[in-house]
């Protein structure tokens, strides 16, 4: 059943052997060993699996890998550039916006996408924009603060 698909992930092209119906999440995690993208629900409810496809936030758990062919896929592993963290990553560290950290990748990816559409959000807008991401440890207020901080960084740069 060789079924070679070419995926462009974090700037590099990877040939993978997968049924186009398989979820992008399992291809990333199980074939490309990009385990920063997490499974939390498999039904687009928690956001742990969020990746960017052509810059838009997508739930990789319900995205067939076939639908990502020919597009730019960015995962949490691709945010850091030449050893420099993305401002959102920096802000999460500065605010210590995590406990167990399992939701963190999905939160950061969602926040990166959100700030592109709304670079100067209010706290309410952040909460609304991130509503689809669950943090069971309840670090929501810090996450809001981190996104706010990242927005400010963006404004400065």
């Amino acid at each position: 059943m060789a079924n070679i698909i070419k995926l462009r992930v974090n700037g590099a092209v990877h040939p993978v052997n997968a049924d186009p119906q398989n979820s992008l999440l399992s291809v990333l995690r199980d074939q490309l060993d990009l385990t920063g993208t997490k499974y939390g629900c498999g039904e687009a409810q928690c956001g742990a699996c969020t990746v960017l496809i052509d810059g838009h936030p997508r739930r990789s758990c319900i995205t067939p890998v076939g639908a990502a062919v020919g597009r730019q896929i960015t995962t949490i592993e691709g945010l850091e550039q030449n050893g420099k963290l993305n401002p959102v990553q920096e802000a999460f560290l500065e605010e210590q916006a995590m406990q167990c950290g399992y939701c963190t990748s999905g939160m950061i990816m969602a926040a990166v996408a959100f700030l592109k559409t709304n670079p100067n959000p209010t706290d309410e807008e952040i909460a609304h924009g991130m509503e689809g991401n669950i943090c069971r440890c309840g670090t929501y207020p810090r996450i809001v603060a981190a996104v706010q901080r990242a927005a400010q960084k963006g404004a400065q740069s």
């Binding site: 199980d30 385990t35 920063g36 167990c100 399992y102 943090c135 670090t139 810090r142």
Partner: protein, 733 residues
Amino acid sequence: MMDERSIFSGGKTAAADELEPERYEFRARAVHHFDLQRRDFFKLLGAGVLVACAIKPVAARQEAGGRPSGGVGFSEPPLPQEISAWLHVGENGGVTVYTGKVEIGQNIRTSLAQAVAEELRYPIAKVELVMGDTQLTPYDMGTFGSRTTPTMNLQLRKVAAAARHQIVALAAMKWNVDSQKLKAVSGRVELTGTKRSITYTELLAGQQLTAVIPADDPLIPPAQWTVEGKSIAKVDGRDFVTGKHRYPSDQNLPGMLHGKILRPPSFGATLASVNAASFDLADNVTFVHDGDFAGVAAATPEAATRALNALQAKWNEQPQISNNGLFDYLKSNPIEATGFEGASKYEIGMVDKDLAAADHQLRQTYTVSYIQHAPLEPRAAVAQWSGNMLTVWTGTQRPFAVRTELAQAMHVPEEQVRVQMPDMGSGYGGKHTGECAVEAARLARAANAPVKVVWTREEEFTWAYFRPAGAIDVAGGIQKDGTLTAWEFTNYNSGAAGIRTYYEAPSQRILFQPTRYPLRQGSYRALAATANHFARESFMDELAHAAKMDPLEFRLKNLKDERLRAVFQAAAEKFGWKRQAPAPGHGFGIGGGFEKGGNVATCVEVAVDRESGFVKIMRVVTAFECGAIVNPDNLKNQIIGGNIMGLGGALFEKIEFANGRVLNAKFSKYRVPRFSDVPPIEVVLLDRRDIAPAGAGETPLVGLAPAIGNAIFQATGKRLRSLPMIPNGLNRA
């Protein structure tokens, strides 16, 4: 006969190492004697000083070996077999700490490193913790019950202090001076009054020192802390924002297969037959059928799922009770047994007489539903056999208990099983067991290859254990002036944690009654303290209204405990309890209590829309005191996180089940708190540097639910006595 003191942990007198009866998932543990081979150790880690912390009292000659006085006694005493932690300061400057505790999101990897850095007087960046690896770390019962800070933190501080003393003694010997004249500062020993100093690494070159901590080693008092007591960032935080950290479900091994387990259609169903005839040959499926266990393994998760769907199974099911009628069922099915399994009771005074004689007498029933921990990372395990040796990476709060489970299930001695616990995607008391590890191990043995099993969200919602549901009957009697005279409190099934009252009442009858129950149940963050505080603190509010007293005044009138009074007053002060009255349609509520060494009080303001019944939590103020504060920033993080998690159980989380099936085993059907549910939460920390620190992962959440219920009552006159209080979302009060 039941023993009151050993069963009730809610009283202030309870010892820290008692287990609450609602930890149903625990079994008697096998005591493991860890064989610490001194020579192997130095071979592994290189020269330096090794300090172990003995669980059992150490023989005098060993103590002598650990005492740095005059620089003598560095012989080779046999190390004790039962130790709880050890630490190695290497000649290369690295410090390695070994503890059986695990990191599940409470940031103990950081707070324990802080403790060591403080006592050792060493840069925290060079302190590495090896945690929860049954081969490398000493036995530990598990990471639960807010015990890490009061126990392991203290032990590591002692261990690190002993290592510092050893190092200082080396310098004293080298310079031939009294060690009193020496001072350890940031990895160097200095001779006071001179410029002379030497690094730890220079002192330790070529040394192979061992010590067992003396019980009376003086510690640095909290008032002089320089690293402890500070907000230190998560030690490996960068790995979490880059996706680099590997959680248990992220472990990948070469040649690894993916496993799926055939689940029964309902709880307690037994497997009558299973037919595996129709696998896709190309999928190269490993199939295991062993008793009621059936599972498959294949090269990809998709192939394993295909194989699972191809299985044809027949099950024998049993009729079971459902949500409807649950509380009647619990109350009418008590377990009549003695000892740990049975009822436990605390009684003083003459309750019936004092109740009858009271000016006001009240009686109410409160209930709590089954809820799920729903940790964002579900259960996961990777198992690998090499010959008869089994290695399992899995997410658990109790790696050593999981090792026992694996050894028993796989019929191998414990020595042949190694469990490793990478920092995991949390647990909240829900990951004390090793079922997923056993499943992976069973499949791996059949497949002759490493196998990974990751539970789906539905599996986690169905086959993990639940926080026990319960019904609580409370009766109380007060005099006209608001003095509480009689108190009766019976908890059916939910548990005994936090069941004792801290309010003064001359007559009390407090009973925990275990019952037969329909769902697999076990520990949950704060255990039954949430249910018991909800009932007690709601009922106190009802009594206050009966006495026509301010709920805070009524509490303080009946409360002597100074620490608890202090948090009530601090929360009320910050909240403005007395300074302002709630606006129309708004209500104020207060609730608080004591559990696991922590004192908490929470004030809440709600707004209720009369037309729609929509309830909005406007703000929360929580005052918390758990002795000396180890890391204020992390403590706040825990308190706020605990309150937000508690919001779910207070307002809407509830497992719906019928006939042995969970009906809402998905996040789309089981609502957990999200961003927009979070009100502004203010935290007031009371730092008691004169009191040894206690843990804070659990207690902060117990005041929230009653405070919300009491606030809703004030706003609407409607008393909500069941958790969750508003199960269908916030729009039906």
